[in-house]
């Protein structure tokens, strides 16, 4: 286990370094100087030179890279040259929208997935089971931005019960939650579809397992056998998939926030990309990919801890 953890940690560090080099390189290797890109074609050579020095772009590449890395680690991210706001504060404020949105999406996804996957598999071969399986399949094909649009049409345009866009402060928790509900549902439907597929496969495997047959043979009813032996095993993939899908949800949130114009990480990223505010875009991409990579590591480790059978394999 320790060896595996060390190995996985090594990969994480390599991945983070790889990602940082790619993200940094994408900005640095842009044709023309970044200062020129920021100021546009009308800029005088003097102002370009001034900004170049101000951004530290006259330093050697490796020093720029380590300065940036140092900022990422210490949280001193600098100031956006478009909005003139500190980048760290901007990201922190955006997280207060994206964080709750993602968690709410995961909860909704699980609420949808568990009954769908469980009963879809248990009732396999009956009409109900087939319908439940089909719902999962359909759910995962609904793009978040299509589901979101549909929800807006129904709940905001037709019935006026939930807001179509915008986000109040968290000082109004009720209306803040209301604003997050539709986006979280559009995220949750897709995730629910994906997770239910895993769960269904896992329960189907369980139903054909030898130990479940043994449990039945010694006289347990199907329900007892499932409760005592089966479901714990069948639920194991939920940890993996839940963790991996948390990463998927973060990326999905980027799209959904733009549908509902929520001031989260995704909107901040898109705005900065469109404004050529590359410093902010760079930091967000690095932050999100770092989060996803760490989540992947945690999932791998927890899976090992929960399933001792895997301990022997590398």
């Amino acid at each position: 286990m320790v060896r595996f953890a060390a190995h996985r940690l090594g990969i994480l560090v390599l991945s983070l370094v790889g990602a940082s080099v790619l993200v940094f390189g994408a900005l640095t290797l842009l044709p023309g100087s970044p200062a020129q890109v920021i100021l546009g074609t009308q800029a005088t050579p003097q102002s370009v030179h001034h900004l170049t020095v101000q951004l530290g772009l006259d330093k050697p590449l490796w020093q720029q890279y380590f300065d940036w890395l140092h900022g990422m680690v210490t949280g001193a991210l600098g100031t956006s040259y478009v909005s003139q706001l500190p980048i760290g504060t901007q990201i922190w404020q955006a997280l207060q929208v994206t964080g709750p949105l993602v968690l709410l999406g995961l909860v909704i996804g699980l609420v949808i997935a568990i009954p769908l996957g469980l009963f879809g598999a248990l009732l396999q071969g009956r009409a109900t089971g087939a319908v439940l399986g089909a719902i999962g399949q359909v759910g995962l094909a609904v793009p978040t931005f299509v589901g979101g649009t549909l929800l807006i049409i129904v709940f905001a345009v037709e019935f006026h019960v939930l807001p179509a866009s915008g986000f109040p402060e968290w000082s109004h928790p009720g209306s803040a939650l209301k604003s997050l509900l539709l986006p979280a549902i559009s995220l949750g439907v897709v995730e629910g579809g994906i997770i239910s597929r895993y769960l269904r496969t896992s329960v189907l495997d369980l139903l054909q397992s030898d130990y479940l047959r043994t449990a039945r043979m010694k006289g347990l009813s199907m329900g007892q056998a499932l409760r005592r032996h089966g479901l714990r095993n069948a639920m194991l993939p939920l940890v993996t998939v839940g963790g991996l899908e948390l990463a998927g949800l973060i990326v999905g949130a980027i799209v959904v926030e733009n549908v509902f114009t929520l001031p989260g990480i995704g909107t901040l990223l898109l705005t900065s990309v469109n404004n050529r505010d590359l410093l902010v875009a760079q930091d967000i991409v690095m932050f999100v990919s770092g989060t996803v990579l760490v989540l992947n590591l945690l999932v791998d480790l927890s899976y090992r801890l929960l399933d001792p059978r895997l301990a022997g394999r590398s």
Binding site: A141, Q208, V255, N258, N274
Partner: protein
């Protein structure tokens, strides 16, 4: 088969393979050959096949004919509802929605195809190399795959678009690259299985070279798994492309990509909700079609390939 009745598949051949499957990750395991399950899945195959065929035919027809030119603006006929002249109505510039959807099918298939091509053209050879050579080369390929794996495709595409500017090409390449690790892993895992078989050992024994073995034995044996994976990836790629177009980071307007059509229609959600529904429905149907087809093929070939 019902859970309450007999222990599932206990007497059938399926019982022999049950419980061997890993819970996640693409592994090849003999699927259970239970009658009902097979029938349900062959529905996937037929439905998915029909949808995909319909989309392909639509895209081909759009090459030579659409009711109106997809870019033809008609200021007098803006935001018209459906009528005999315009079956699905017109958009905010008076362009025929049906014609734009048909041309959009062509763009969707093209971009999805290129993305999958990028992923397979790099991923399959890399996977074979990793399977054949255990040494430094194989390890290097695996480690690179590990690093790339788990980096979200959409994020990579957004970053690339930010750096290079939004275009169809950027989006296609970014999505293709992001899915390379999937193919490396699937190819390697399946190739290793074939390479360990007795007939490969026999081929080795009489001196066949590694790449000749790959061509004669490995590739034909892993082909079905690869095809299933390509189908599933196609649906994911289309989803990602549509999202990028929607965000304005992929195919740009006025080109009639479904994602950008939906994005533009959103300004008219209150007055003309149907305008948003059509492109959304189109993306949904195509994604569903390819994912059904992939599932159906997986069941047909006895491959377990769902992510």
């Amino acid at each position: 088969m019902s859970a309450q009745a007999e222990p599932a598949g206990a007497s059938g051949p399926a019982a022999a393979v049950a419980g061997t499957a890993g819970s996640a990750g693409p592994e090849v395991v003999g699927g259970p050959a239970v009658g009902t399950r097979r029938r349900v899945r062959s529905f996937s195959l037929v439905a998915g096949g029909l949808i995909v065929a319909l989309i392909i035919v639509t895209a081909l027809v759009a090459l030579i004919w659409t009711p109106y030119p997809a870019l033809a603006v008609d200021p007098a006929g803006r935001l018209a509802g459906s009528s005999g002249a315009h079956l699905l109505g017109t958009d905010q510039y008076g362009r025929d929605v049906l014609s734009r959807l048909m041309s959009g099918a062509r763009i969707t298939l093209y971009t999805g195809f290129i993305s999958v091509l990028v992923a397979t053209a790099v991923g399959i050879p890399a996977g074979l190399v990793a399977a054949l050579y255990g040494g430094v080369v194989g390890q290097a390929v695996l480690r690179l795959t590990d690093i790339l794996y788990g980096f979200p495709a959409l994020l990579a595409a957004i970053a690339l678009s930010a750096a290079l500017g939004a275009s169809t090409t950027t989006a296609m390449i970014a999505i293709g690259v992001a899915y390379i690790p999937v193919f490396v892993r699937v190819t390697r895992a399946n190739a290793l299985g074939v390479l360990a078989s007795e007939y490969v050992m026999a081929a080795r024994a009489y001196g066949r070279r590694p790449w000749a073995i790959v061509r004669r034995h490995v590739l034909p044996n892993i082909a079905t798994t690869i095809v299933v994976q390509m189908c599933l990836l196609f649906s994911l790629a289309i989803l990602a492309e549509a999202a990028l177009d929607y965000l304005g980071l992929g195919t740009r307007p006025p080109a009639p990509s479904w994602g950008s059509m939906l994005q533009q229609a959103q300004g008219y959600l209150h007055s003309d909700p149907a305008l948003s529904l059509w492109p959304g429905l189109a993306v949904f149907v195509v994604v569903l079609g390819f994912s059904l087809l992939g599932d159906g093929l997986a069941e047909l070939f006895d491959v377990r390939a769902r992510r």
